[in-house]
């Protein structure tokens, strides 16, 4: 079935990917990731001595700070003052402000990013330390959380944080007629009835014989690290999403691998 997409892509086609690492000089590791017009910057500081709140004698701690494109988060007093001022000045129609104040998507994204990165990092290597990851949204044109996960992953590699494997994130949309499209723009995300953010482990090149990395007959890169869905879909459609999602994650992990190899040879020449 042919699917018409605004930007002329086919159903399973991703937007052009771009990734560059080591772009910030003061951070221990950094990366910028763009998928079409969605662009995210990630910076990693650490491992540094653990703060009192996060200290864990057995494991390293990961902390994620999400900076949205506009506005500040966490400054509760200011937001409260603004809301109060607006209520007085603009009484009657303040539900938009209320929504803005209550619906902090950043906190949820921070939690998902933190848990996802914790599951791919080897936390026992640097116990009692904290690694901060700062994610700055440069532009949001759909698939924002997957882009942020990919960016954070590359920044962690750039900082040399020990990891089990990389994570590759992809957004799958289920349109009203039941077909699945990959890597939607913001417009497509709003138009389709449901979408799922899926995160898979990247395909590992292993010295172990083929098949030894299989769990229950499925290769390890088929396991879902993170899944976030939005909107109603039939249960079957979710499983239907997994297949193109996994196929795309293989392409993405090839892109990551090529990118890492390329830049490491570049820097070895420069050094």
């Amino acid at each position: 079935m042919e699917v018409h997409r605004e930007d002329g892509r086919s159903q399973n086609q991703l937007r052009p990917l771009a990734c560059s690492r080591n772009i910030l000089h003061r951070a221990h590791g950094s990366a910028s990731w763009s998928q079409g017009d969605t662009k995210v910057l990630a910076a990693v500081y650490g491992p540094k001595a653990g703060t009192k709140k996060n200290e864990n004698p057995e494991k390293a701690c990961i902390e994620v700070i999400w900076k949205p494109k506009t506005g500040q988060i966490g400054d509760f007093l200011t937001s409260l003052l603004i809301v109060l001022a607006f209520e007085v000045w603009y009484a009657g129609n303040f539900q938009n402000i209320l929504h803005w104040c209550l619906g902090k998507p950043e906190k949820e994204y921070e939690m998902i990013l933190k848990r996802t990165l914790e599951s791919i990092c080897i936390l026992t290597v640097n116990p009692n330390t904290t690694t901060s990851i700062i994610v700055q949204v440069v532009n949001d044109d759909g698939a924002l959380l997957p882009s942020a996960i990919n960016a954070a992953c590359m920044a962690l590699v750039d900082a040399g944080i020990p990891m089990k494997h990389l994570a590759v994130a992809i957004c799958c949309c289920v349109a009203k007629t039941g077909y699945v499209i990959l890597d939607p723009t913001k417009l497509e995300e709003q138009k389709t009835k449901a979408f799922a953010y899926l995160v898979f482990p990247n395909s590992v090149h292993s010295v172990l014989p083929e098949g030894s990395l299989r769990v229950e007959g499925e290769p390890i890169e088929n396991g879902i690290i993170t899944s976030v869905t939005h909107g109603i879909m039939p249960v079957d459609d979710y499983f239907y999403c997994l297949e193109p999602g996994r196929a795309a994650s293989v392409k993405l992990s090839d892109f990551l691998r090529r990118n890492l190899q390329q830049q490491s040879t570049d820097s070895s020449k420069a050094g």
Partner: protein, 320 residues
Amino acid sequence: MDGYNCVFNPLFRSKENRLTMGLPNASGDLSTEVEVDAFRRLFPLRFYEKHLLESIRPDARPLGRARETTIALGAVASANGSALAKIGSTTMLAAIKMEVMTPSLETPDEGCIAIDFHMPPICSPIVRPGRPAEAAPVVAKQLSDTILSSGMINLKELSLVSGKAAWMAYLDIYCLDADGALFDTALLSAVAAFSHLEIPVVSLNDDGKIVLSEEQGLSDREPVNKERRKINLSSIPFSLTCVLHKNYILADPTAEEESIMDTIVTVVLDSSSQLVSLHKPGGTVLAYTSAIQDCIALTRQRVKELQKILEEAISGMEVD
């Protein structure tokens, strides 16, 4: 607990039995010497794994069973709709206040729902006074995403006069006791509060403003909306949280289980078995297709249980 320990607890069995269980005993033979409570605190994961081998949990539940669930409707007299939901000892109080507001220009004939989730320090030893709980905004966001995207409430039903007045439903959920499965209990209490909600009668006063008829003594005036009415709930969402550990799936985890085994999957299905949300934020265990299918199957069973519990609570209210 004591009686149960003697019967079920694998640690209390005879020494021969213990040796045949064949678990790698990394810490020497300490487990045979310390008391159960000490062992539970020192080696929480091994304590659980010994239970899981026997397909039982320390609170005597099989792996796939949820805790006892109760709903009490109308717990707050001053709210337009309220409910107290309990799953095990996790307790949530949900209350809805309706207020009249001017609808926004983009959606002139729709009302609005504002959802907030509170975790006061009394709910858990982890939450300390003066510091907001980290989980609270995350659960609040998940709740409003689920309730708004499930289409349970037709926002057009909350409209009074198109472009002029509509209802704003303030749903506040207070966590009184946080013992795991926070989202499940919060969603259940929210759904129950909406099914208890009665929209009050309003009429226009002399200034052309909409006021509550009963409060202002305007009951002789023709009301804007006909009568106190219930709101129509189509396709109610219900959820089940599972913890994944190795190949085990534990339904409806307690706070202890959530802290020891870190892979949490929350599935939300609506009454027509459509998937509203499948939420798995990271975790050490990767979810393969079979595990996801098992979680969804467990949720399907749980949806039936919860539907029955909610129906019983509603019919109990009608008898009163």
